[in-house]
């Protein structure tokens, strides 16, 4: 009875606490008082607005549903050529961030550890004074700007700013820049797109095209199309993510040896003399050295030794690649997530060169670059690696300006990074949340929410220029300021007498739009795909788009949500490749220890899910809950392991395991997954925020070794060794049993599930 009574007391106590919490939650809801009234006594009038998504570079056009001008739901715009009505989980959930309770409602200043709200003018004054001081001491080199914005116009604004003021260290770490880095590294400009009209064989190196790429929804459609045409996709990837599972061939391979695999394929081409002689003759300087080098070092058996892929498989892929008329060996940012990423990329570029980049294409006289004025490609922007070395070095950093980047969360070696950050005298962040990075800031001037901003997004990855316009669907809730405006006013203050052709950021956007207006190529996104006849008419200069003035054009642009040019011409992509350029960067053949694992060690292979883009998922509870739902693991880190490997370590399915790396111990729920590389322990990246959002799970990067690509400084995702310290017996026999049932499901049984 005594026990019972105590337990009962506990229960009641707990439940009461729960009640209190619930009560508090309602109060915590973020919404300006003035607006609440509308919410309660509003007429519930529904309206729709078009805007664009900036969660990833794709620039999908969104259809926002508003009730009394409160955005409540988001859908895809069916007329947009980018997403054709589709939308990803990220975009669907994105509305919630406006109302997020822990969103900053105005500028805050860090007063010995406490963030105290201050007025915008005060905040701005602090910022400009600091910068003025630095400029007066002319320590321009000691100022670093880090931004991860996916909008190229914003990036352009940052470029302009740092150029005008003379800050050399702008770190532009968005997807596009990173993906094109390897090309820039060998001083050629990147191809615009994979030409799916021509391409008949796609060899994909580590890119999750349908999940995390520069245009996921477009690739999702195209991959299906490509395969329905009977063409093959081969993916070289350490993890069989759902998107990769769509490809016909999956080559499980650690990123460290992508290069070796690529050159192994190159060997087959060279041996069979099936490469594009004409191209290599014209554009590939030092080709013979390359040829010789590959023939000497990458014969199939050697390649097998280096990669662990059976030589006949390499031969098979090689033959498929060489016999394709327009093959494409594709990579993107993802390839850089390991210590020799840039090298891998160069090797893949070389492989493409052998087939003359026939799978790729460029847009003929693309007017985007003209739109941007100074495009971010045009100025040499430096990589994250520099900031790292600068931080670790004894050279001091005077100021750090962070915009929409949470690099502390997205990088390994976080402890060191945090220590170094806290030593910087002045950090200003434009983040809307006090995240892991901005918690070190001395000043936070929160940017608008995505739904309060204006912006212009575009992307060539479809082979046709498409521009989606992000317009504010709701008047700004709080005392937030668009970062673009801050930069502009800073320019005026820091450099008196500067000539800037625009007053504020929306002006800047309008001018970009004005270029479209004057150029007048293409159509608004408010109509379906043009027919062949229309295209023909266009060719002979027929143009239906008539606008009396720019303002009319602007209005209809906002209404249509975007502009695209289905009539743009393509041209083949012929870069000048130089063997020395490729292979003088960094040593060759790093024989990786990762294949010969030390006993009772596993490889910690961090993979990314499409629900999370660069660790920004945490503020969307619906996504956090869904994150592990198809393994029915909720709000917790899980680790997928191959059953055979698991048996070697005698750990049960769904048991809680304690894992240890050099950085420390952490726990995860072990999941049997027969599709995991033997010797791998696949853990997802995205959970484990501690400072904001629903803090749950573990961030595996915090426990992985601080290796990174020499050139780009990108975190390495699969080169940490981990060992299983202890394991609880499989926590739920029922589930364990059912899972094993699944795994050894016979044909008959699987049919019983199907039909």
């Amino acid at each position: 009875m005594e026990i019972n009574r105590r337990d009962f007391m506990k229960l009641i106590g707990g439940s009461l606490a729960g009640l209190a919490l619930g009560g508090a939650a309602g109060a915590m809801m973020k919404l300006p008082k003035s607006m609440e009234a509308v919410l309660y006594s509003g007429p519930r009038i529904e309206s729709w607005k078009l805007t664009a998504c900036t969660k990833c570079p794709g620039g999908c056009s969104l259809k926002v549903r508003l009730i009394d001008n409160f955005p409540i739901q988001v859908f895809g715009n069916p007329l947009s050529p980018v997403n054709e009505g589709g939308i990803c989980s990220m975009g669907l959930a994105s509305v919630a961030s406006i109302y997020h309770p822990s969103r900053l409602t105005g500028p805050v200043k860090n007063v010995n550890g406490e963030f105290v709200p201050i007025s915008y003018d005060e905040a701005y004054k602090i910022l400009s004074d600091e910068l003025k001081k630095i400029i007066s001491q002319n320590k321009h080199d000691d100022v670093f700007l880090v931004t991860q914005t996916e909008s190229r116009l914003r990036a352009g604004m940052f470029n302009k700013f740092s150029e005008e003021i003379g800050f050399k260290n702008l770190i532009l770490d968005n997807f596009r820049t990173a993906s094109s880095f390897p090309y820039k590294n060998i001083s050629v400009d990147a191809p615009d797109f994979i030409d799916f009209d021509k391409c008949d064989y796609l060899l994909n190196f580590g890119s999750q095209m349908a999940e995390i790429s520069n245009n996921p929804l477009y690739y999702t459609r195209k991959i299906n199309e490509h395969r329905s045409k009977g063409f093959k996709i081969t993916s070289v990837q350490p993890k069989l993510t759902p998107g990769i599972a769509k490809s016909d061939d999956w080559i499980p391979l650690l990123p460290v040896s992508f290069k070796d695999f690529a050159l192994g394929i190159a060997y087959v081409l060279l041996r069979d003399e099936k490469y594009d002689k004409n191209f290599t003759g014209k554009y590939f300087s030092g080709f013979n050295d390359f040829r010789q080098y590959v023939l000497d070092n990458y014969y199939p058996d050697k390649a097998q030794e280096l990669t662990g892929v059976p030589s006949d498989k390499i031969l098979q892929i090689g033959r498929e690649f060489e016999n394709a008329s327009a093959p494409a060996a594709y990579f993107d940012e993802a390839v850089l997530y390991n210590s020799n990423g840039t090298q891998n990329a160069s090797a893949i570029i070389a492989l493409n060169a052998l087939k003359g980049f026939r799978g790729f294409g460029k847009i003929k006289d693309n007017f985007f670059s003209s739109m941007l004025g100074k495009d971010n490609e045009s100025i040499e922007n430096i990589s994250f690696a520099k900031l790292k070395e600068r931080l670790s070095g004894n050279e001091s950093i005077q100021a750090l300006i962070i915009s929409s980047s949470n690099f502390v969360f997205n990088n390994p070696g976080q402890e060191a990074l945090k220590k170094q950050l806290s030593s910087i005298p002045f950090i200003v962040s434009f983040s809307s949340f006090v995240d892991e990075t901005s918690s070190f800031a001395h000043l936070i001037i929160p940017d608008h929410d995505d739904f309060e901003k204006i912006d212009l997004l575009f992307d060539e990855s479809m082979g046709i220029p498409a521009i989606t316009i992000r317009q504010p669907v709701v008047s700004q809730f709080f005392n937030t300021v668009d970062t673009g405006d801050i930069l502009i006013s800073l320019m005026k203050d820091l450099k008196p007498g500067i000539k800037i052709p625009f007053q504020n950021y929306s002006d800047y956007i309008k001018q970009a739009a004005n270029k479209i207006y004057s150029n007048r190529e293409g159509i608004l996104m408010d109509q379906s795909k043009p027919t062949a006849i229309e295209k023909g008419l266009r060719k002979i200069g027929w143009n239906t788009e008539q606008y009396p003035s720019f303002d009319d054009f602007w209005d209809s642009l906002l209404e249509a949500g975007g502009w695209w040019n289905p009539f743009a011409d393509k041209e083949s992509y012929n870069p000048k490749i130089d063997f020395k350029q490729i292979f003088n960067k960094g040593s060759l053949l790093p024989k990786s220890s990762l294949y010969s694992l030390p006993n009772n060690n596993l490889r910690l292979n961090i993979f990314r899910k499409n629900l999370d883009y660069k660790g920004s998922m945490s503020i969307y509870p619906v996504l956090v809950e869904q994150f592990g739902s198809n393994w029915s693991v909720f709000y917790e880190l899980w680790a997928e392991i191959n059953p055979d490997t698991a048996r070697k370590f005698s750990v049960n399915n769904r048991s809680k395991v304690v894992l240890r790396t050099n950085k420390g111990k952490f726990t995860a729920i072990l999941i049997y997954n027969p599709a995991v590389m033997p010797g791998n322990l696949d853990v997802p990246f995205g959970l484990g925020h501690v400072d904001f959002g629903d803090n749950c799970g573990v961030n595996p990067l915090a426990y992985s070794d601080d290796l990174s690509d020499k050139q780009t400084g990108k975190a390495t995702f699969s080169e940490t060794l981990v060992e299983i310290v202890s394991a609880s017996p499989g926590d739920s026999p029922s589930s364990a049993q059912i899972m094993t049932n699944e795994n050894k499901m016979t044909g008959t049984e699987s049919r019983s599930i199907y039909a």
């Binding site: 006594s41 519930r44 009038i45």
Partner: protein
């Protein structure tokens, strides 16, 4: 015998508790301004149609109740300072306070009644459900028609319209 009484009492308490916790009562927000609105003055004297103020009635799911800035279209100037009602609303408009209208036709949140469907498509007159409001000189204190499901059923059955639950409860 005592235990039995006690038990029965307790079970009673349980049910009272359950009812209390399950019942969902409309929320009141007292911090807003209130006015004593006269439908008579607006509709009879000034010949304003219902839909002029309840704008959603023909086009939206909800008829909607005008908010302050809508009142300000007429009440931004004080025409007749002697009338204290008018001064009240004038003050509210001037200080741009929000009026907390008392809604007497509160549907539970699991019932979906579309005004558009009934007024516009069904060609129903407002009075059919809300009665003749034009005589109300002060805020009404009770519903003209008690809104309960039977009311819907009567009309739907008379007119031979579907009475499928899913159409209103989703």
């Amino acid at each position: 015998m005592k235990n039995k009484i006690l038990i029965s009492l307790l079970s009673l308490i349980c049910f009272a508790a359950s009812y209390y916790f399950f019942s969902n009562r409309p929320s009141q927000h007292e911090e807003f301004a209130t006015v004593s609105f006269s439908h008579y003055v607006h509709t009879k004297e000034h010949k304003i149609k219902c839909v002029n103020c309840h704008r959603g009635a023909e086009t939206q799911m909800r008829a909607g109740i005008p908010n302050t800035d809508y009142c300000s279209m007429c009440h931004s100037t004080l025409i007749n300072p002697s009338s204290e009602r008018e001064t009240v609303i004038y003050q509210i408009v001037k200080n741009n306070k929000t009026i907390q209208w008392r809604t007497y036709y509160n549907l539970p949140d699991y019932v979906y009644f579309s005004h558009k469907r009934h007024v516009n498509l069904g060609k129903l007159d407002c009075t059919a459900c809300h009665g003749d409001m034009s005589e109300q000189t002060s805020p009404e204190l009770k519903n003209y028609n008690p809104i309960e499901m039977q009311l819907c059923f009567n009309c739907h059955e008379d007119k031979g319209i579907t009475t499928d639950c899913g159409n209103c409860h989703h």
